[in-house]
Symmetry: C2
Subunit: 341 residues, 2 copies
């Protein structure tokens, strides 16, 4: 049986209050007693029981993390950031994955609250209204990741998706591309996916290029699906000269589809990605992408939570981290007059 505070107290011939004081440094304890207690603690291998502790303190030093899935580079990188920051602040994390099911999301929200999680980091591809209200009901801080959009209501940290998409589109235009297809996500119609689409359209408009709806294609985050929709796009005959995929995985699906059709990337069609997960620079051709500071997004989220836990008022509930356009090998400059046969 594990030693308890009582065992320590008895063996040291002091009260449990004294033991409690030495393990928490809460009040002064005379040096001799203190040392004696410490010795016994060591001898018995006593460790305070965190469960009992959180019952009385209503604190757990636990941060809950809710994600749609785990085996995902995008999420994994963010998780690394979260883990790192938690560790250095002595918090532990409990992870729940929801498969994007919003009832599951709500259940986990409740669960984490019940477990005395002192804060929750929430991530989801698509944001359901019930989930938003569930989040609002929770007393402890909840912060969302990658969720900034016009009418954001919950604290969040992310990049400026609209601006990033704008920049990428403009980059493509500067490279001579006019016929730019956008691969976006149909499972995320109302948050960052929307922001990205707006950025794309604005960039086109600002350059006087007409937005062609048939160049905006909807898929999900899988390679296979992306492969499929790009194959369809190619078969329709009206070829784009560039494809802007709003995730690296989609970009890879696109490249595979293009090459399997006998075209070359970037010689025939340029493809750019978004996020810059590890595979982006590992794949050949290396992907030109918008880089998101995934790791930092994780650390900042935790930092915000902990600040809130500690009672600091945040200046900004919506924090935007900087993104970066990274040029690699999947995009090529084309001659404008190529169109004029």
């Amino acid at each position: 049986m594990k030693a308890t505070i009582k065992d320590v107290a008895e063996k040291a011939g002091v009260s449990i209050a004294t033991v409690s004081r030495v393990i928490n440094n809460s009040k002064q304890v005379s040096e001799p007693l203190r040392e004696k207690v410490l010795a016994i603690i060591d001898e018995l291998g006593y460790k305070p029981n965190p469960v009992a502790r959180s019952l009385v303190m209503k604190k757990s030093r636990l941060i809950g993390v809710i994600v749609p899935e785990m085996s995902n580079f995008f999420i994994g990188e963010i998780m690394n950031g979260i883990e790192e920051m938690c560790k250095s602040c002595q918090y532990d994390i409990i992870v729940c994955s929801t498969q994007g099911n919003h009832e599951q999301e709500i259940r986990y929200l409740d669960l984490l609250e019940a477990k005395q999680a002192e804060g929750i980091i929430f991530m989801s591809w698509k944001l359901h209204n019930d989930v938003v209200s569930a989040i609002k009901k929770i007393e402890n801080p909840v912060i969302m990741i990658n969720r900034n959009t016009i009418n954001s209501v919950v604290p969040s940290v992310s990049i400026d998706n609209k601006k990033a998409a704008y920049e990428m589109t403009q980059y493509l235009i500067n490279m001579g591309h006019q016929k730019i297809a956008l691969l976006r996500n149909s499972i995320d119609m109302d948050t960052f996916g929307l922001d990205q689409t707006i950025g794309y359209k604005e960039a086109l408009a600002d350059s006087g290029i007409k937005v062609e709806e048939q160049f905006i294609r909807y898929g999900d985050f899988s390679v296979d699906n992306s492969y499929k929709i790009v194959t369809e796009l190619l078969e329709e005959g009206n070829l784009p000269t560039a494809i802007f995929a709003t995730s690296d995985i989609m970009a890879i699906g696109a490249i595979n589809a293009i090459e399997d059709k006998g075209y070359n990337v970037p010689d025939d069609i340029s493809v750019v990605g978004f996020n810059d997960i590890k595979i982006a620079s590992l794949y050949r051709p290396k992907l030109t992408v918008i880089h998101q500071p995934l790791f930092s997004i994780g650390t900042v989220a935790v930092k915000m939570i902990i600040d809130k836990i500690d009672g600091y008022e945040l200046k900004n509930d919506i924090v935007i981290l900087p993104h970066k356009l990274i040029e690699r090998d999947s995009c090529k400059k084309i001659e404008i007059n190529e169109d004029e046969k």
Copy 2:
């Protein structure tokens, strides 16, 4: 303030014992009372406090998972399996990542025990002796993943790494390859990496091919490192006709290195991988690999833990799951007489 069992009891005009009974179905409660209590519970939105519960029950329905890192496809897939099985068994998981630091590993082992985790799933690239003794000290079930080796001491689940490596090597030999380089991991000298090397050597020996130590190269699990050591190998002049990488990531690093040197995969040099993480079939050329049932490894590990928690005696503490050789596009048959110029 959250409603407690006491609030429910008072409002319902019954004792807390009765309330406890209805929420646990532990003993018969008369129908009228039961319904009344249920109504109040609903009205107050009462949820039992799991912390208090685990304090008295010494149970937490929590399984701890210790991994070296999170943003890793290999681990992610296993995690998905773990998550899935836990969910369907109503267990929650708390995840700790160690960066492969063995002191950190021990700290987490202690922490999880303190948090009343009912079982622990442990994963590490390299197994330190102190960790092994720490694991043995823990009373609750601990099971390791991917750790079977000759003198295994802790319950584990994995594939037969030796046999898998043997099969892959033999496959290469059957494809006409004689000069087969092995890319293995220097950070894991004494567990599955060792098993794989033994399998490789045995296959060579059984075909009467001499094992050349300079064809066995040591790296780590990163693409960059793999790229580097393969580049070195190529520059030394004595070219292998095939490279057996013991992880898919290493295989990709190898392919990139080979192609950057102006050779083609698989025309000039064949490369095969190990694990079959998602990228393996997504990369071009698609990787010929040994497939590990990652997801199942996760689910089986949890199943074992839960069985142990429930007091069942396991027939086998070491479970071996089936692997599979998957032929794709990164390996090519060569003519034997090519050597004889």
